[in-house]
């Protein structure tokens, strides 16, 4: 299910590139024309990847971000066989070209090579979902024309929202250029109603499963009774078969019911802990926030260290106890009851209530002592919570080639290429990173369907590739805004995912891919993490310098639409509102889009 997302983002890494640092103007033009003609490429870029240790020459990376559903072979076949031969020209150094060789033979050679060099993303996120390049362009035209028309209509219908929207809709319906928009903008299963259907299906499957087990047991028992009634005597062989079936179904039914019950109890407990209690009690909310903050705390302090230790000492046993309880209750309920009964103090109910009340009072007392202690010993408190300065050795220095690349994109969609090394052992790091990326991709596909990854907006296409036999991690992103803001979005909006898939990387010293490109002089590590997903990117300065130092400039860039995610979404909203039914909601949407 995630392959369809991964296939949208492809990197072709051609090793031992001898073609120099600059692409010729004719190559630039030919590539641009190629991507425009083909019409399915959202973004493309070319960059040089520094050589691996032991290698002499850099690799040429061609990043292709394309529409959904295209298989790499079909895409590359389309690109390679384009009559202009742009890719043939780009990769001419790799083709054994003789004067007598026909174009089709060269295309075949090139296609084989590109297929052997291509990597579909190991993980990726798509912001503006369910849209083709052509749709984005057409909707952009609709938005522009609607704004022009709205200026005219304002003079006559400006005072009434409904009549203004109606007049604009009439204009849109009457314009043959926008016939295509009469159909509502398509939405994929997961953006439409997929999640709710799946929830219903899961509920139905559970109920049907339980009903089926009960029915099998019931039928077996009924058949046994029928057998006895029919022959007026009990046949032991038949009775034992029916008895075994009935027992098996009863046991499975019991296990299934208890497992469902245990899941409900665990879910309820988690809901109480993470939702109900924070909503009811401000101090609990503050405590929970403080716990997460301390786990995420970028600097080493006594407070964060003690929280870390406390989670190990309290949290881990609690999780293990929870798992043990679920498994034991599901399969050995009597043993579970016996163990729990040992822990419940024997005695009448009022004594247990008293013990419970006392326990709560003791906990409140401990909390009050800590609070008092905290306010009395301000100095100690300051020392306990005092953040050290981040151990950044130097002010951030960005390589001129990166700045130049960013400057070229200042009016379009920003772009980032980051190359890091996997930590040793590579296989282990690559495996974990790959699993993490798959999870992020799955969540992006199923849950984060409205252009935001977690709380991070503005990502058009972000993709990760584990390359060079699991030794390096390549990250390419096409995003709105600037680099600092983009990383801030990750730090504040999607820190767990970002930490998860970057935590197994480091930066080894590396020579630049070309004399005027950045290298890595000193080895760096990704900021330390806690419990896999905490801290990491929250070490803001460390993370930003790490990300900066891992960046590479691009040699070529193609952006098919040059629109921000917000603009893309606005145009789609306008299309649906203009051509949808006339009501207050749609009228309001039209006004808001036109005015924005």
């Amino acid at each position: 299910m995630v392959k369809i997302v991964r296939q949208q983002m492809i990197c072709i890494i051609a090793p031992d590139w001898r073609g120099g640092v600059q692409l010729s103007k004719s190559d630039h033009y030919a590539l641009h024309r190629l991507f425009l003609d083909v019409g399915v490429v959202h973004f493309a870029s070319i960059a040089l990847l520094p050589p691996m240790a032991g290698a002499q020459l850099p690799s040429l990376m061609l990043e292709l971000v394309v529409e959904e559903g295209l298989r790499p072979y079909d895409l590359l076949s389309r690109l390679v066989n384009h009559p202009r031969g742009a890719l043939r020209s780009l990769y001419r150094g790799y083709l054994s070209s003789h004067a007598s060789q026909k174009a089709s033979e060269l295309n075949r050679q090139l296609l084989e090579r590109l297929m052997s060099w291509q990597h579909i993303a190991d993980g990726g996120f798509v912001g503006a979902r369910d849209r083709s390049v052509q749709q984005i362009k057409e909707e952009k035209k609709l938005l522009e024309q609607a704004r022009i028309e709205a200026r005219v209509l304002k003079a006559t219908h400006g005072k009434d929202r409904a009549s203004f929207a109606l007049a604009l809709a009439r204009w849109a319906f009457g314009d043959s250029r926008f016939e295509w928009a009469a159909e509502a903008a398509p939405r994929s299963y997961w953006r439409e109603k997929g999640a709710s259907i799946i929830a219903k299906v899961v509920a139905a499957v559970i109920v049907l499963w339980l009903a089926l087990l009960w029915l099998i047991g019931f039928l077996a028992r009924s058949a046994a009774c029928f057998d006895t009634w029919l022959w007026n005597r009990s046949n032991p062989a038949v009775q034992s078969v029916f008895g075994a079936v009935s027992d098996a179904s009863g046991w499975l039914l019991g296990v299934s019911c208890r497992f469902v019950l245990a899941l409900i109890v665990v879910s309820f407990a988690l809901w109480v802990f993470f939702v109900a209690l924070p909503a009811l009690f401000a101090f609990f909310r503050r405590w929970l926030d403080s716990l997460v903050r301390e786990l995420d705390r970028p600097t080493e302090t006594w407070s964060s260290l003690s929280t870390y230790l406390a989670v190990w000492l309290v949290g881990l046993p609690l999780v293990l106890a929870g798992l043990w309880s679920v498994v034991t209750y599901t399969f050995w309920p009597q043993y579970f009851k016996d163990v729990v009964a040992q822990w419940i103090p024997a005695g009448p109910g009022w004594k247990q209530l008293l013990i419970g009340g006392l326990a709560i009072l003791v906990l409140i007392g401990i909390g009050a002592i800590f609070y008092r202690f905290n306010s009395l010993l301000q100095k100690f408190s300051a020392w306990f919570y005092h953040p050290h300065e981040d151990d950044i050795e130097r002010a951030q220095q960005v390589h001129p080639s990166i700045e130049e690349s960013e400057a070229r994109l200042v009016r379009g969609t920003a772009h980032m290429i980051s190359l890091t090394d996997m930590r040793s052992p590579h296989g282990w790091s690559a495996w974990w990173t790959c699993r993490s990326l798959r999870i992020v991709t799955f969540l992006g596909r199923v849950l984060f369907t409205e252009s935001r990854l977690g709380n991070a907006p503005g990502i058009h296409f972000g993709h990760w590739h584990i390359i060079d036999n699991g030794r390096r991690l390549l990250f390419c992103s096409n995003y709105d805004g600037d680099f600092g803001g983009y990383l801030d979005d990750f730090i504040n909006g999607a820190s767990i995912g970002t930490t998860l898939f970057w935590r197994w990387t480091k930066l080894k010293p590396r020579a630049p891919a070309a004399p005027d490109q950045p290298g890595v002089a000193k080895p760096r590590a990704f900021p330390p993490t806690r419990f896999l997903v905490f801290r990491g990117v929250k070490c803001e300065l460390k993370f930003k310098t790490y990300a900066r130092d891992s960046m590479l400039p691009h040699l070529y860039r193609f952006d098919a639409c040059r629109l921000t995610i917000d603009e893309i979404n606005r145009a789609t909203v306008l299309r649906n509102a203009l051509f949808g039914e006339r009501n207050h909601g749609n009228d309001d949407l039209i006004m808001r889009v036109i005015e924005s």
Binding site: V40, G69, D74, K102, D130, S132, P186, G194
Partner: protein, 427 residues
């Protein structure tokens, strides 16, 4: 022209693959379809209630009422843009049809097909120990291409190679033929195909349109059209002509051979006739050609390329079921014709289950061509297609006995409902 072809999948994961897989599987199992058809033919009125048309009389009735049962059902499957097959009668349809008829008149398919078949046969390995060959890629694809490429006149080379100067590069021509195959593959069940199949067809359609656009000047002059003739109209017709004829004829040829191999006695009889006539004369022997022609039609009756056909119902109407009661048909819905069931309808075809190439069809001669449609909207190039397949089959009959090459993997490979490979070897 389709402006926004791509649509994301609105079905749950796996559902489309299941649906499309089921359809393709059914499409490949003609015997099963014939059985279902035989069953439904017993209760045509009930089948009609569910929008299924099974009896020959009913199918003919539907196909002769194009305004009540519209060809627009094909429109979602035309990834390369609108064309005659999916149009309702109107000015555009009539203009395009006139242009097509004009272009078809220049064809002399038998000459070109015979010539290419001979050349291809000469290149085939003909010993028992030799390796297998692909009936589609090594034989049929090229025969059909050479026979129908004159439809583009002097621009044929430019279209096939997608360049201003044709250099006779077979690799480029093969690429063109693959593009048309995937575009045509959508005609069968494009709207239910999986997303990757749809996207591949769209990519090929894009390439085909770009190819035609690039040589539109050559086509204009080859077709003798004045400069005032709109380029968009030329493009629509050229694109349509490029994809619709070739792939469908090649698939029909593969199905004909597949069916022939299921009737070994018929195959042997034809081969012995060919051997008796002798290699040089077999191509021009009038009676033999007529016999093979009849065999091709009968084989196509057993394996029609479109065993199921859909028609849109634009407004409320009544469906003649061929039974005692007609069925009401609500506007906005569609009907499905089991043309394979109609071709085996004992009420219309005497001894319908028997393989009989020389059957006397009497006044129902048109029904014999039902796999190409019926009435005014039937395929205008049907006779050319059967002539090409006749030439191709004559060529195969001059070879030693053929079998499917099961040795190296599956002999037949499918891409969706279409065969993309059919490996053969000598028995």
């Amino acid at each position: 022209m389709k402006r926004l072809a791509y649509k994301p999948d609105a079905l749950p994961p796996g559902a489309r693959r299941l649906l499309y897989g089921g359809y393709c599987w059914l499409n490949r199992h003609a015997a099963l379809l014939r059985t279902i058809g035989a069953l439904l033919r017993r209760w045509p009125s009930i089948a009609g209630r569910f929008g299924l048309v099974v009896r020959a009389r009913a199918v003919k009735s539907v196909l002769t009422r194009p305004r009540s049962f519209s060809n627009t059902s094909h429109a979602p499957n035309l990834v390369a843009g609108d064309y005659l097959i999916a149009m309702d009668p109107g000015p555009v349809y009539h203009d395009d049809r006139a242009l097509l008829d004009k272009r078809l008149k220049v064809l002399t398919v038998q000459v070109h097909a015979d010539c290419e078949a001979r050349q291809r046969l000469a290149g085939l390995p003909q010993s028992r120990n030799s390796v297998s060959f692909d009936l589609i890629d090594d034989y049929l694809m090229w025969i059909v291409h050479r026979a129908i490429e004159p439809v583009f006149g002097t621009a044929a080379g430019n279209v096939a190679e997608g360049s201003q100067v044709a250099v006779g590069d077979p690799g480029l021509q093969r690429q063109y033929l693959l593009e048309t195959r995937y575009v045509a593959g959508q005609l069968l069940a494009g709207s239910i195909s999986t997303l990757d199949v749809q996207r591949r067809a769209e990519a090929c359609a894009g390439a085909l349109r770009a190819r035609i656009k690039g040589v539109i000047g050559h086509i204009r002059s080859a077709w003798g059209l004045p400069p005032s003739y709109p380029s968009a109209d030329i493009e629509r017709n050229a694109v349509g002509l490029a994809w619709i004829a070739h792939a469908v004829t090649v698939q029909s040829g593969a199905l004909v051979v597949q069916e022939l191999l299921r009737h070994p006695e018929v195959y042997r009889a034809l081969r012995s006739k060919a051997a008796a006539i002798g290699a040089p004369n077999v191509w021009n022997h009038v009676d033999f050609r007529k016999s093979v022609h009849n065999h091709v039609l009968e084989l196509m009756r057993f394996r029609p390329i479109f065993p199921l056909l859909v028609r849109d119902v634009p407004r409320d109407t009544v469906l003649e079921t061929g039974g005692q009661k007609d069925a009401p048909c609500a506007g906005g819905k569609s009907v499905v014709m089991l043309s394979i069931a109609a071709l085996f309808d004992p009420a219309a075809v005497a001894d319908s289950r028997r393989f009989c190439p020389h059957r006397d069809w009497g006044t129902d001669e048109d029904l014999r061509w039902l796999m190409f449609g019926y009435g005014d909207r039937r395929c205008p190039a049907r006779k050319y297609a059967v002539d090409i397949l006749t030439s191709a089959l004559i060529g195969l009959l001059t070879l030693p006995e053929l079998r499917l090459a099961h040795g190296d993997g599956k002999a037949i490979k499918y891409t969706g409902p279409l065969m993309s490979r059919m490996r053969m070897r000598f028995a």
